[in-house]
């Protein structure tokens, strides 16, 4: 493996992150040089230095990255981004000690949106913007940034995106690198800007509108308010955010194809139909449960809160307009299910993903059919494409590994003295990059009260979830690196 080349690419990502830190410095300056100014400036300089150093020694080389090198760039970028991302928090101080800063940084870059902050509004604007930037960068994918800034175009980028994007997405939509860049620009940036303008028109100020748009497009769930979206108490704002979150949960390539009028678009996608169907179905069921239990006086208000929470959790965003801890057990179970399944592959969402769920269900149906007709040759199709057995096998392995990690997270949680609900839903929230769980880590609570050890475990779960489990597991096997 050419470590020097890997370092160069990771360095470019660091420079990009330093650029965002400088933007945060600008915002801090514009807010009257608030207390975040010097921490952000120092962090930007250190990050830039760290990123620029490999550029001095390693020359640009024509050629392609091997699979291992691509993998190393992805994992290295993500881990290093999390490390440099906590510099501003650590230097600024406040509620951030080492473990809290690490948790917040990992939560940002993995687009989880879980926080340890008891008083978010106490953060200066510069620091607020940095939180949102970290999550936005994470949403776009550190590696996607590497793709944008990589000087040479070619197959090397495909190697990177193979690791970055869900393998299912790559199997279904074999995009060329240039198109990936266009997709990012049109869908991700476009969605963020559109949402910002709409939120501004709906009554937010520019800063809040931009921050919440960045958070929604990245399906992160970071908010500038302690009570999240409930602070605004505006159906219009909630509707705009529901739209943004729901779109951000769809495969970006499909959205791009739809926007650019391609044949293989959103309306033809089976997975998208299942995703939207699941979203609406769960919302209706939760709303009916809430109305029946008289938690909300009218069906409209029940549906309003139900669809927001379901969309927020299924897309792994984590915004909240209500304290879901007070909801019925039936609604809570459905929300937990939404937190596990999550949205589509190829989006910024985490979790098992609807694609895998659909395939798993089809495999179960095929198995039942096979038992009735032992000699039948049964093919499993998705979007009209026959799925290879390797792919199906990897889906099952992923789901099993996911469930085992969930269990491990829950066990560690209970070992740390957490109650079963908090431990289990906390693990779901972190592994699925959702953010809020239930119990002590509910939609209106935070992870501040968690023991430091558990925060470390949760941060690890977030990284596992973001790198689709096996991406991080491979890092452990040194033999693989040779």
């Amino acid at each position: 493996m050419r470590i020097d080349l890997v370092m160069r690419y990771v360095g470019e990502v660091m420079l990009f992150i330093a650029g965002f830190m400088l933007v945060a410095v600008g915002i801090s300056y514009a807010s009257g040089m608030d207390s975040a100014f010097y921490p952000l400036l120092l962090s930007a300089l250190l990050t830039a230095l760290l990123g620029a150093f490999p550029q001095i020694f390693v020359d640009k080389r024509v050629g392609q990255l091997s699979n291992k090198e691509g993998f190393a760039v992805v994992v290295g970028s993500w881990l290093l981004a999390c490390v440099v991302g906590m510099f501003p928090y650590l230097i600024w101080g406040g509620e951030f000690n080492f473990i809290n800063a690490w948790f917040e940084s990992v939560s940002g870059f993995t687009t989880t949106g879980a926080t340890i902050l008891g008083d978010i509004e106490a953060l200066p604007r510069g620091m607020q913007f940095w939180r949102m930037s970290s999550t936005w960068i994470g949403g776009m994918g550190v590696v996607m940034f590497a793709l944008v800034i990589l000087p040479s175009m070619g197959r090397s980028k495909m190697t990177l995106s193979n690791v970055e994007m869900s393998s299912l997405a790559k199997e279904n939509f074999r995009y060329r690198t240039q198109i990936i860049v266009q997709i990012l620009l049109v869908v991700y940036v476009g969605l963020t800007l559109l949402s910002t303008v709409l939120l501004k028109l709906a009554g937010m100020n520019w800063f809040d509108a931009l921050c919440h748009s960045m958070s929604a497009a990245a399906t992160s769930g970071f908010s500038t308010k302690n009570t999240s979206i409930a602070y605004f108490n505006s159906p219009l704002i909630e509707t705009i955010l529901i739209g943004t979150m729901a779109i951000a949960g769809i495969h970006f390539g499909l959205i791009y194809a739809t926007v650019t009028g391609k044949r293989n678009n959103l309306f033809r996608s089976e997975v998208t139909r299942h995703y939207l169907g699941l979203l609406l179905g769960l919302s209706l069921l939760v709303a009916a449960s809430l109305f029946a239990a008289e938690i909300y006086p009218t069906p409209t208000s029940a549906f309003r809160h139900a669809i927001f929470q379901v969309t927020s959790l299924i897309t792994t965003t984590g915004f909240a307009t209500a304290d879901t801890n007070g909801w019925t057990s039936f609604a809570v179970i459905l929300l937990v299910f939404a937190s596990i399944v999550c949205a589509c592959a190829g989006s910024t969402a985490g979790g098992v993903k609807v694609n895998r769920l659909v395939l798993a269900v089809k495999m179960m149906l095929a198995r039942m059919k096979q038992q009735r007709h032992p000699n039948a040759v049964i093919r499993i199709k998705l979007d009209g494409v026959i799925q290879e057995s390797d792919m199906l096998y990897s889906v099952l392995v992923f789901i099993v590994a996911y469930m085992m990690l969930l269990l491990a997270g829950a066990v560690f949680g209970t070992l740390c003295g957490l109650d079963a609900t908090t431990a289990f839903t906390g693990a779901i929230a972190c592994l699925g990059n959702v953010g809020p769980g239930f119990g002590e880590v509910g939609s209106m609570d935070n992870f501040a009260a968690m023991p430091a050890f558990m925060k470390g475990i949760d941060a690890l779960l977030m990284l596992f979830g973001r790198l689709e489990i096996f991406g991080l597991v491979q890092l452990i096997f040194m033999k693989w690196w040779r």
Partner: protein, 343 residues
């Protein structure tokens, strides 16, 4: 500047800059820490000084009051007022300088209480001064009733003192709609209103002897009774408050030390981060120097040795760039020239 030299120079300059930044940060943060520790020591010393002055002033007042009541020395009045003024001045200085103002609440309350008590006593004593030579004994023997107006007038007449000012203003601003209120009650209400709304202030106001419409409203009573029941009680409270203030810095040393530890951690964090980044950069520099300079040179040396000793072909596997690459190419050329000349 040649390629290799340029790279190494830039790399070293980066490290030097980082070292400089780390050094400056350490310097600034250590300076800030030092100032913090110095502030605490200074505050502690100043605390004791001010407390000593307050105790002196209170003692002076006590002596002056005894001289006035026991020996009937009229000139002791001015001494009383001067002691009170000194006490208040020192209190206002303490309030300005205090890092933790919570310790001063009870002290300010006790001072105002004492001031009201002594002022009203002096005002009444002045009014009821007896002409006869034996008057002193009469004056000594009784403390006359204190009408509201007298207290208000007396308090309005006292020059504005920072500590007592709110109480005075509040007292003089008492609504005329409540004239029946006894002077002592009015003063206590004003006192309570003038102080920060702390439970202790309320409690004190309620339990203050001034709050009790004592005997003063009805009949005169012996001065020794007034001294022991009212003045001594307030004086003791003031002394206790001054002593509490004197030890306040020491009492709050534990939380301050905790805060200092936290601040120290915060102060060294930027330096630690800079150092970590520098270590990472030094390691990178070592790695790059190894793969781009040291390894190729070692490789060339080994290969050149093999060529000279065993006539093995000159091959360098390490990646070469800049001058090292030129060196390799030049060695290659030399070897080729030697081969050609031999053939």
């Amino acid at each position: 500047m040649t390629g290799m030299r340029k790279r190494v120079t830039i790399a070293f300059l980066s490290i030097v800059c980082l070292l400089f930044v780390s050094g400056m940060l350490s310097f600034v943060e250590l300076g800030r820490l030092g100032r913090g520790a110095g502030d605490i020591l200074q505050a502690s010393r100043r605390n004791i000084e001010l407390a000593k002055e307050m105790l002196d002033a209170a003692h002076e007042l006590n002596v002056a009051l005894i001289r006035r009541t026991v020996f009937g020395e009229e000139r002791a009045d001015s001494l009383c007022r001067a002691s009170l003024a000194r006490l208040e001045t020192v209190l206002s200085v303490a309030q300005e300088e205090a890092l933790d103002k919570s310790f001063l609440d009870s002290l300010a309350f006790a001072t105002t209480e004492l001031k009201i008590l002594v002022d009203s006593y002096l005002a009444d004593a002045e009014r009821q001064a007896l002409p006869a030579p034996g008057g002193a004994s009469v004056q000594l023997a009784t403390v006359p009733a204190q009408p509201t107006a007298a207290v208000s007038a007396q308090q309005s007449a006292v020059p504005a003192q920072p500590a007592a000012a709110p109480a005075q203003q509040a007292t003089s601003a008492l609504p005329t709609a409540a004239p029946a209120q006894p002077a002592s009650t009015a003063a206590a209400s004003a006192l309570a209103a003038s102080l920060p709304a702390t439970p202790s202030a309320d409690t004190l106001a309620a339990s203050s002897p001034l709050a009790r419409p004592t005997l003063a409203a009805e009949t005169a009573r012996p001065v020794d009774q007034w001294y022991t029941e009212e003045f001594e009680e307030v004086y003791n409270r003031l002394s206790a408050a001054v002593k509490a203030y004197m030890t306040s810095t020491q009492s709050s040393l534990a939380p301050r030390t905790e805060q200092m530890k936290k601040n120290a951690y915060r102060a060294v964090t930027p330096v630690l981060i800079s150092l970590l980044v520098m270590i990472a950069i030094v390691l990178m520099l070592y790695y790059f120097m190894s793969i781009y300079c040291v390894n190729p040179i070692l490789d060339m040396n080994r290969s050149l040795g093999n060529f000279l000793t065993f006539k093995m072909p000159f091959t360098v596997r390490s990646e070469c760039k800049d001058e090292v690459l030129e060196l390799k190419e030049k060695i290659d050329t030399l070897i080729n020239q030697q081969r050609q000349s031999k053939s």
